[in-house]
Amino acid sequence: MIGPSQTRILVEKTIKLYVGGKFIRSESGRVDRITPTRPPTDNAGADPRDIYVCRASRKDFRDAMELARKAQAGWAGRSGYNRGQILYRLAEMLEDRAEAFPVAREQVHAAVDRVVHHAGWSDKISSLLSSLNPVATAHVNYSMLRPVGVVVALPDPADGLLGMVEALSAATVMGNTVHLFVPLESGELAAALSEALATCDMPGGVVNVLTTDVTGLLEWANHHDDLDAIYLAAAAIDDDALKATQLEAARVMRRLILVDGAAQPASALTLQRLAEVKTVWMSS
């Protein structure tokens, strides 16, 4: 029993990585004590305190790559209808857990609405951007969108939760699997988001949330040749890191999808860049 005069000792949660549908510690064993960058909000407790965040390492990323690659074909193979429902379920879980996010309620609402927006694309964008091409021969010729594959996403930290959900829903609605790189300072957001992801029926490995030194881990992502694309908000890294990323991308023709930020949802043409146009000529 805790007596009335005693202050209750808080049970603090160490923020883990979310990889392959599981909450794991970094293989490196590194856990950073971080003073979160947290704007004053009604959700924030009266008592802002330091948090403990696992820091994803090169090997964590390497392992996550395996899981994301494994999950990708299955995720892309699901119907658009199904992927849309799962993303909508994510919106439901976010809304339900609004309290868990250490940000203003409006920010959570904006994030929920963004997920709902992109969820709706899942069974529509292909109708909008695919084409039946009127070739001069009698072939049936059609172009369709195929996922680009496995994506690393670095949203603008200033966009907070909205930036994270914009990136992950844009990537996944196109059939990709995605590693979300989140600065350690945003660990609480990452944790709350991961918990929503873990409960929304999304298969493990489709979205991996890696709290880390994003610029540092990006360097390792640049060195992983099985990575198909990097989604980058302009403000997520500095010019040198961007140039380094471009130089490494050149080696394997990795796609870079540079976006301004998350204020507006990705347009259809931006979403298209998270996909490959594939054309089939069928003899008739």
Binding site: T137, A138, H139, S283, S284
Partner: protein, 306 residues
């Protein structure tokens, strides 16, 4: 014991499969062959030697057939060095008349259509009798029609047995089997019917009666050439090919020869193994030959009408 086909033969023929668009593309490519100067003259002469000069009209009369035989023997008397046609092709009732003109040891063969040409819709016994009488009257070659009704209804065995019976009735005469590809509907069917006709003993396979549209086409010819090649490679037996109907221009004839050369090779480039079933083609071949020879485009009036 007559030759018989098994269920597995039938399954194999039915499985014959052709991609129409690719066939069309291949043919389009052959149509672009540019056959000029010496090679043109050589192939025009070859084509002339491959013609089965044909008349198959209800109004055919002895005099008409005599005229045809003369033309086949000497297509253009001012140029006696030109080859004669391969054969004349007439109805059975005209065989005796044609034989009288051609003589016993003619360089021009005497072919007759038989088996209730062009429909083939008579009892087999009557068709066999018709063939026997036609050969007895002096025909060197019999052009029979297959039973398309039986083929399209799936009764391949019946089609096969009829060809075997007719082949038997032919005795020494060569048998050309007309598939009437214009009634078969698909190139797959053309391939299957070709295999069947060759297996049943046909010496030649022939596209058409000339009474049905479409008659011969390069697409159909390619599929039949390929079937002949398969048969040859599997059995070692060479079978001839005769496209018939609609081949009126020398240019088209040369494209048939180009397709033939590129599919079956030099051994088929002779009238022993390839024929054109045609009539007006001869005059166009002559026009082209004389243009090459004299440097003037010829008026059609220069040549005898047939």
């Amino acid at each position: 014991m007559p030759l018989q086909c098994t269920e597995s033969d039938i399954r194999r023929w039915r499985a014959a499969s052709v991609d129409d668009m690719s066939v069309a593309a291949r043919v389009a490519r052959v149509r672009k062959r540019s056959i000029k100067t010496e090679s043109k003259v050589r192939l025009l002469r070859l084509a002339l030697s491959m013609v089965d000069l044909t008349t198959l009209e209800g109004a055919d009369s002895p005099e008409r057939v005599r005229g045809l035989c003369h033309k086949a023997l000497r297509p253009h008397p001012p140029m006696p060095e030109l080859p004669s046609c391969a054969a004349v092709c007439v109805y059975p009732t005209m065989v005796a008349t044609a034989r009288a003109v051609l003589g016993a040891d003619s360089p021009v063969k005497l072919a007759a259509v038989a088996t209730a040409f062009p429909s083939g819709q008579l009892p087999l016994a009557l068709k066999v009798q018709e063939v026997r009488e036609t050969v007895a009257a002096g025909a060197d070659e019999i052009d029979m029609v297959i039973n398309r009704g039986a083929f399209l209804s799936g009764d391949y065995a019946r089609v096969f047995d009829e060809i075997v019976a007719i082949k038997d009735a032919c005795g020494p005469a060569h048998l050309k089997v007309i598939l009437e590809t214009g009634e078969l509907g698909t190139l797959d069917n053309v391939a299957a019917a070709s295999r069947l006709a060759m297996a049943a003993g046909g010496d030649f396979i022939k596209t058409s009666t000339g009474k049905i549209q479409p008659a011969a086409t390069l697409e159909v010819a390619l599929v039949m050439f390929e079937a002949i090649r398969e048969h040859f490679l599997e059995t070692g037996v060479r079978v001839g090919m005769k496209p018939a109907g609609g081949i009126r221009s020398a240019k088209l004839a040369l494209h048939y020869l180009a397709l033939l050369a590129e599919t079956l090779g030099a051994d088929w480039m002779t009238n022993e193994w390839f024929r054109f079933g045609a009539s007006s083609l001869v005059n166009d071949l002559l026009r082209q030959l004389l243009w090459r020879d004299e440097g003037y485009y010829q008026s059609p009036r220069r040549f005898s009408v047939d």
